[in-house]
Symmetry: C2
Subunit: 304 residues, 2 copies
DNA sequence: GAATCAAATGAGAGCGCTCCCATATTTTCG
DNA sequence: CGAAAATATGGGAGCGCTCTCATTTGATTC
């Protein structure tokens, strides 16, 4: 009998099923779009989405995308998830760490996973991130080993823990090498090309022999500023980026950078969320994925 | 009574409603991910998605994203839309023009809108595109007016009409200026940086004084190849791109390029689809959005 | 004020499923 | 071989809505 059903190609009506099970077999992905990175570092998001999509597709879930561009969008999304229960759970991508959504989710008991390390509610939140601190530490240590001493850092958007953690790794690396941190060499940026360009101009005034950029887009901005001033990379100033975007290979010199597994980050976040939904949840899961320093030319050390 | 309901903040259960109305208030966005542009020219997709999202949010629809990476994904998606009727309609983004999905949608009477000009079924398909031919015509004509005669073209992925139409515009512009088309100056690419780089190497052998690249990513590849060989842009070779990505401003010299309204493209596609769903459809709608040639430095004509 | 019509209200069926319980069938073991 | 257990099958009830039809209420007209 069951065999017959299967052979007839019977497909249950999802609406009817949802009505009785209270489950929609759908998750939401929310992107508070304010971070302009969504557009500029447009590689990160498609890759993340692709990772999430891999998991949801495999496990027969649908993925709803919510790009929050205004407070109104925010309200609407919130209705959908809380009142309507349109989605069984949600993945929050690239949220500032004071993101109010997180509080709402906790209050309303909505299953969710962050793709950022949060700073609050650490005991009850699941997330997957990469080891930004260690990655930044390695990157900066690499520069130090190559003999650089005045290393500048252009940060990412400091409302996002990824960026904050990278600054921390930078500080630790200097500390470990016995180099005093010169606060003037830390320039606040926002993951954009422009902040790389302008940050570089500031750092040049203060004198540096290397720059660690918070991401590759920023690094491209650095590179442009240096090229325009005929400053040789890496001879005069060495450069390290973060992300290993395709673009890292498309500039001269090729960027030394930190590769992070963005696709896996998304895929894993989705896995964790779906496990929660399937009751296999249990404790909140907090995953830190490893990164890898990819050594190319911009740091001054050709790969072995 | 109605007023009371409204004030109580009553929210109907979407599953129950869907069960009886056969409508889900959700549309799908399908991206056959094969075109590697999804990752490399990652600006286009986020922007398109944002446009779609604007419309769906305004009209209280949900947006489901389907990234098709394998034949299996394709099957699954197809079940969801056809058998399950999980979505009321779908937007097909950046499909090759022989995309089999289109036939399926027509057979199963599924409402859909393309974000590409299709080559078949022109009488019964709604789509929104930009005037690629006119845009390419203008771009190339601009180069001709600046005195260039041997203008090379590195094409996009020729399975996508955007790319084919740009070639057509290129040909027409030469024809209109009385310049014979030299087929050797048309190099097939695929919208990637690499194809710009390698295409340039070929064009250099054949001798050109200008290059029209199918998009800005390709143009960046061109630029890198020329820089490496110390060929001055625009003095020796002029360059025009397409898309007006943020990256167009982040290279030296700044790219002259064609700006296309990608966000509107998505927003409009969504509007058309939702109109169809709301019964305001009627005839298929086919919209060609205008583009704009943005003159910067890479073509050799500084803006007025 | 009675008759007519429009609008508001109420009751009930049904959308297609899952879940529970009752009955029927098969299997297992003493 | 018969009793007990395991499994399979069948028959509701109910999820929360919309839609239709019948009824009631209110407004309108002569």
């Amino acid at each position: 009998m069951l065999a017959v059903i299967a052979q007839e190609g019977f497909a249950p009506n999802p609406a009817a099923r949802a009505l009785v099970t209270q489950r929609n077999q759908a998750i939401g992905v929310v992107v508070p779009i304010a971070p302009l990175t969504f557009f500029e570092d447009a590689f990160y998001f498609p890759t993340l989405l692709q990772g999430i999509s891999q998991t949801t597709s495999k496990r027969d879930y649908a993925m709803m995308l919510w790009l929050i561009q205004s407070e109104e969008d925010n309200q609407k999304f919130f209705r959908r998830i809380t009142t309507n229960r349109l989605m069984d759970g949600v993945i929050v991508a690239s949220a500032a760490f004071d993101e109010p959504l997180v509080d709402h989710f906790l209050e309303t008991n909505t299953p969710f996973v962050l793709v950022e390390r949060p700073t609050r509610h650490l005991d009850c939140v699941s997330f997957v991130s990469v080891d930004n601190t260690a990655a930044a530490y390695d990157a900066v240590t690499h520069l130090i080993k190559l003999g650089r001493r005045r290393i500048g850092h252009i940060t990412g958007n400091l409302h996002i823990t990824d960026a904050v953690d990278r600054v921390e790794g930078y500080r630790q690396a200097l500390g470990a090498a016995g180099i005093a941190v010169d606060e003037a060499l830390i320039v606040e940026g926002n993951f954009s090309h422009r902040s790389g360009y302008e940050g570089t101009l500031q750092l040049l005034e203060r004198g540096v022999d290397a720059i660690f950029a918070a991401n590759d887009i920023t690094a491209r901005g650095v590179l442009q500023a240096l090229h325009e001033r005929n400053i040789a990379v890496p001879d005069q100033i060495a450069l390290v980026g973060f992300d290993d975007l395709p673009t890292a290979l498309q500039v001269t010199p090729k960027l030394t950078t930190v590769r992070q597994p963005t696709g896996e980050r998304g895929a894993l976040a989705a896995s964790i969320l779906l496990d929660m939904l399937d009751g296999r949840g249990g404790q909140p899961r907090q995953v830190i994925l490893p990164t890898q320093l990819v050594i190319r030319s911009s740091c001054g050390a050709a790969p072995a």
